[in-house]
């Protein structure tokens, strides 16, 4: 199963919000078969997920985690929708 992971420094607040928003967006787009979760930066390795979502403030720290999707503004749902859709397509999921 394809896995998307939202990541922030403690894995408690903002990554959880991005995680819930990714699920919401996937549902809107009608894409299934992708598991979504959230985690703290220190626990994530390149094999943890197929795509890792971070805010641009963490782009540098998250480099090297494989397919890293950088969100310019983590509260912008339109940006997230476009990037989730692209990432899903990259991993073989379309609506």
């Amino acid at each position: 199963m394809t896995k998307f992971l939202a990541v922030c420094s403690t894995g408690l607040g903002s990554s959880f919000m991005v995680h819930m928003n990714i699920e919401k967006v996937l549902k809107e787009l009608g894409i299934s078969g992708i598991e979504v979760d959230h985690a703290d930066l220190g626990s994530v390795s390149p094999s943890s997920a197929d795509a890792v979502f971070v805010g641009s403030d963490l782009a540098e720290a998250a480099a090297g985690l494989g397919d890293v999707v950088v969100l310019t503004n983590i509260i912008d749902i339109n940006e997230l929708r476009a990037k989730v859709s692209d990432a899903a397509a990259r991993h073989g999921h379309t609506a």
Binding site: G13, A61, L71, I75
Partner: protein
């Protein structure tokens, strides 16, 4: 019959069980499948036990620190770290904290649905932490267990709309929208930063932090496990040098070399925080989505109040400037405490990073780079002295070697503690009822003002005013983080 009741009481007074039941309700409310409900409930039960186990690890690392600090300086040394203190508090106040957390969400939804304060506080981890603090303060004030939960839930619900409201005037300047709010226990300190930035702005000659060239490469600051271990290592070794090698090797380390012992102790502290965070993450996993889903159904125009990193991307330079300025505020405050001979609050790197960085972003939006520095410095001083003043309010918990770190614990804890000192339980109850009343009075006053404005827009002069206001709103909509301030 009595035996059955005893068994039931045994079950339902265990905090892990209460938390699991809350998750069960949340999962059922989202109409999940039986297997999801079972899985989520058991995970939450286990998650809470993980959290409690982390408390033990943190305490084994903190106790020698406390003894060492006492030996070296003859005063209490306190590490402000929410995870470290909350995990310990939950051992004694877990049931009350879990119930306050649960009913507090219901009060939050009720207040958001019926007042102008439309905030839904979605940062579950810090909401859980402050619920634990309310449980302690009301317990220390002598309330019966059911009363702790009743008044604690009201305090919690009021807190969950007031803290985002304090920051919202400044959040609008950062995000350019009124749709999203900041929900974090650093709220009061972050709002203070905005206020300080506004006052010190003068004619507004300070440029934005984002027009500066600032060194990159401090990304490692964002790995909590690493930064907690490194910063605690520095603190442990400094205190250890004052306590002296002979004392540590004779009394604490069983003869191990004191530097090796201290470095491992610091790593142990980070390990404890890591375990607690993992537990908190599991506990919240089923509860927060249910809270979000239900609030979206019941509250029209709800404004989600979210964790601090949501503002970090608006002004990356202000994040670093804010952290540094806040940390300097913490060091200066610590020096002042040493000089005054009070208990000493060690600057907590995680707290200064999270709330200091947000203070920097908010301060920058309100008053440019000068605002970012001065505002975040003010936050750093606030999150040093507020925990110090809060210690006596917390009873025995105040004697621990760790304490609550962010500004809201100090501000709201001291309000409740002050009421308790002034008039005991009656004063707390009156204060809480009054605070709810104030929220409704403000709602009616603001509604009346809006109606008057709407009525006034029918006169020609009023249309001009309205045009000005629209213009003002238009300007406010451009994110100030990228707009140079002159």
């Amino acid at each position: 019959m009595d035996a059955v009741i005893d068994v039931l009481l045994d079950i339902f007074t265990k905090p892990a069980v209460i938390v699991a039941l809350i998750a069960l309700i949340g999962l059922a409310a989202q109409s999940k499948s039986f297997s999801d409900v079972l899985k989520g409930t058991v995970r939450t039960l286990v998650g809470f036990l993980v959290l409690a186990a982390g408390a033990g690890v943190v305490v084994t690392a903190l106790n020698p620190f406390g003894e060492m600090f006492q030996h070296a300086f003859n005063v209490q040394g306190v590490v402000p770290n929410n995870e470290a203190i909350v995990a310990q508090v939950l051992l004694d106040y877990g049931s009350a904290a879990a119930l306050i957390f649960f009913f507090g969400m219901i009060v939050n939804i009720a207040l958001a649905a019926t007042t102008r304060f439309k905030y839904i506080y979605l940062s579950g981890h810090v909401a859980f932490y402050i619920a634990a603090m309310f449980a302690v303060i009301l317990g220390v004030a002598g309330f019966a267990p059911w009363a702790v939960v009743l008044w604690g839930s009201i305090a919690q619900g009021v807190y969950m709309v007031v803290s985002p409201a304090l920051v919202q005037p400044f959040m609008r300047r950062v995000t350019g929208t009124d749709d999203v709010a900041l929900g974090h226990t650093g709220g009061a300190g972050i709002a203070l930063s905005g206020l300080v930035a506004l006052i010190t702005r003068g004619k507004g000659t300070s440029k934005s932090t984002e027009e500066m060239n600032f060194p990159k490469g401090l990304g490692f600051l964002r790995d909590t496990t690493v930064i907690v271990a490194l910063s605690m290592a520095v603190i442990y070794v400094i205190v250890g040098l004052f306590a002296g090698a002979p004392y540590i090797e004779n009394e604490l380390s069983n003869g191990d070399n004191f530097i090796v012992y201290l470095l491992l102790l610091a790593a142990n502290f980070s390990a404890g925080v890591f375990i607690i965070l993992a537990g908190v993450r599991v506990v919240l996993a089923e509860i927060v989505p249910a809270f979000k889903g239900i609030s979206e159904k019941l509250v029209k125009n709800a404004k989600p109040a979210l964790d601090v990193p949501i503002v970090f991307t608006f002004a990356p330079n202000a994040v670093l400037i804010g952290f540094l300025a806040s940390f300097v505020g913490g060091i200066v405050s610590m020096a002042a405490m040493v000089a005054m001979g009070t208990a000493v609050i060690i600057p907590g790197v995680v707290a200064h990073f999270m709330t200091g960085a947000a203070s920097g972003v908010i301060g920058n939006a309100a008053g440019g780079r000068r605002g970012a520095m001065l505002g975040a410095f003010a936050n750093g001083v606030a999150i040093s002295f507020l925990p110090l003043f809060l210690l006596p309010v917390l009873g025995n918990v105040g004697l621990a070697n760790a304490t609550f770190s962010d500004a809201d614990y100090g501000v709201f804890g001291l309000i409740l503690g002050g009421l308790s000192a002034a008039g005991g339980q009656v004063a707390i109850i009156v204060g809480l009822i009054a605070s709810v009343a104030v929220l409704y009075v403000l709602t009616f006053v603001l509604r009346a003002r809006d109606k008057a404005l709407a009525a006034a827009t029918n006169t020609p002069e009023a249309r001009e005013v309205e045009a000005d206001l629209t213009d003002e709103a238009g300007r406010a909509a451009t994110p100030p983080a990228v707009t140079p301030r002159h």
